[in-house]
Amino acid sequence: MQQSFLFQAMIYLAAAVIMVPVAKKLGLGSVLGYLIAGILIGPACLHLIGQEGNDLLHFAEFGVVMMLFVIGLELEPTVLWKMRKSIAGTGGLQVVITTVVVAGLALLFNISWKQALALGMIISMSSTAIVLQSLNEKGLMKSAAGQSSFAVLLFQDIAVIPMLAIFPLLSALPLTERNNVAHNEPGFVNDLPAWGQTLAVLGSVGLVIVAGRYLLRPLFRIIAKTGMREMFTAFALLLVVGIAQLMTSVGLSPALGTFLAGVVLANSEYRHELESDIDPFKGLLLGLFFIAVGASIDFSLIMAKPWIILGIVLALMLVKAIVLFILGRSFKLSKPQNFIFSLGLSQVGEFAFVLLGFSSQENILSKEMNDMMVAIVAISMALTPLIMLLNEKLILPRLCAGHPETPQREPDVEIQEQPVIIAGYGHFGSTVHRFLNANNIGTTVLDIDSDNVDRVRQMGFQVYYGDASRHDLLEIAGAGKARLIIIAISDEEKRKEMIEIIKKHFPNLQMLVRSSNRYDAYDLMNAGMLHIYRETLDTSLRMGVDALRILGYRAHEATRWAKTFFLQDEKTLKHLSTIRTDEEYFTAVRRNSEELEAVLREDKKLLNFRVDEGWDGRPVNGELPVHDQAANS
């Protein structure tokens, strides 16, 4: 089945474009949409693509590499350092315990210990692609479950490296043949002695860090100066591909390498630019990856012994979930969070494909066992979005109802008719809530972090668990009858999503929106928002007022100047939001700051008059004694 490249591309894209929106509409999430698209066009159904599904899988794995780069970009080094405990603790224990338990089970089924160990390691892996994509889509990345999931996945990425090193030792082949196999591996490093290999590994990691710190910024600046957007995109891609290549050649996981580069660049000013450039590639490649997973499910094999395979899949997922649940419990995740965590990570992930490929090379597992495992892994991945959905729709609501600390928790969000809805109960939302509460204004509060919800509930506040960007939840929360909604969630994208949903379903609901900074405020303005509150504006102005006071200015004057500044700034914001090009923007900013100065100058005259403005009836003659206000009052 040799079709032209364009024809294939057309099939993949068409399948994605049709299935993903359908899946989203049905509330299944994009990952499941891609998987279904893959199954449909694969050998099992329409037969539009054939065996190349497996090759495609390897190609599309690059999407995972890009995803880790983007994740790295969003994770500053200090944050990563704070997570070290959960990465090593939760992640490490998960890999070790799952490997041991699965290997033990395999031994019971009379599989040799080498094969059992290999199976254990393969199965301990979870799918970074599916889990992170799904968590992101549901806005759960910042919740406790999201953070723990991420820690485990990160550790697994690291763990792949020693596993790949152990696999040759498990090989059933004699030594000489094994050496031949090893030489099939790409990379010059294998020819080096052991100390050389170690040196190469450390050297390349060091290279990524040092280059990321000192070399890349000037390079980015030069490329940004060319003003050609595609050059920047090309460079960003080159960076990711280059690092991946470097890592592969020294035998490290490319995903880990790009993740590291991402973390190093997380503090740089080009972070958002990089993220937005890589994001579409990442998304498409991941989509392709999911399609490939769908397409590579060998239905003939499954049809041959469906119950055995399905049984194994469910048993393995159950085992993984139990191990994860116990870990989540010992690391103090609350019950709902723990369910998201343990069920979410219960599949076998894409690294298993890598390890399986390696194990067939090394001849550790038999051919049929390998094929069966590929099917099992693919099915477990395909089941994941479904399981997450079931968890969200069936298990969590029931669980929350019976939660011991919150006896009055009926369905998650009770039917409400308060005049105000607050979305997001972080530091921002909670302050607004406390203020309204103190003024006896009824509010319905929604928050997506169930741990946070529990904590706040223990303090005696009515906070409901739920994704405030879902229109059915908003409906229950009383959005149809409420006067206004306060959008105080911290996620910019989620906010914009919410605004669109509210515009569409609740046109009469007034929105008061939090905004992270002026750029975000521009976007919100362009989205038609009238009430926008920049998080830091008032605070920084208060700080400015205090600075003036300490410098010796009168408090009342400083306060008035700040207010004048504030009003002028809000006014210009509106104008600036309509500007698209940098050049125009900078000119406008310059003009505005001149204008602002003039306004402040005018205002100062108001407070600081030094002439008698005619109260005397006599004209004021030229020479005036200059004395300060102290003398005046």
Binding site: A555, A631, S633
Partner: protein, 178 residues
Amino acid sequence: MKYCRNLESVTFNDLYEQYPDLHIDVKREKALLLRHDIIILQHPFYWYSGPAIIKQWLDLVLEYNWAYGPQGTALNGKKLLSAISCGAGKEAYSPSGHNHYPVTDFLLPYKQTAFLCRMDWLPPFVVHNTYRIKNESLEKIGKQYAALLQALSRNEFHVSQYPEVDYINELITLDEVR
């Protein structure tokens, strides 16, 4: 301001500095009032009256049944003094002058406020010509003001002296100030 800031037995309460956004702490102000026998409203004479914060202060602090009303005895017997600075000279505040009425007439609301709160109204301390005063004479007026405050706090004037003068300035003339 600087002449009254560090005087013994004088508490200087800078309202605009304390409440730059006019958000007056009524409790604190009442406590301050209770601790003192002489209350001085010191301000520039804006539009024949006090600046906004003085009005806000009067509106909020002088509560019914605290400062006035059947049980409003908190300020009973305290003295109230207006200390003001005017851009124009004294002659502008006369029937033939630009402002037609004497300063003391414009201060009538403050005087009545004192009566209503059962306080004793003192003749005001007035500085005229603030835009024309040279620094040396200003210094002298400052010292005069300080001396007056000291004398008031030591109760050195007799009640009968007050009706005899327009401005309290006349009780310690500039010549008496070193």
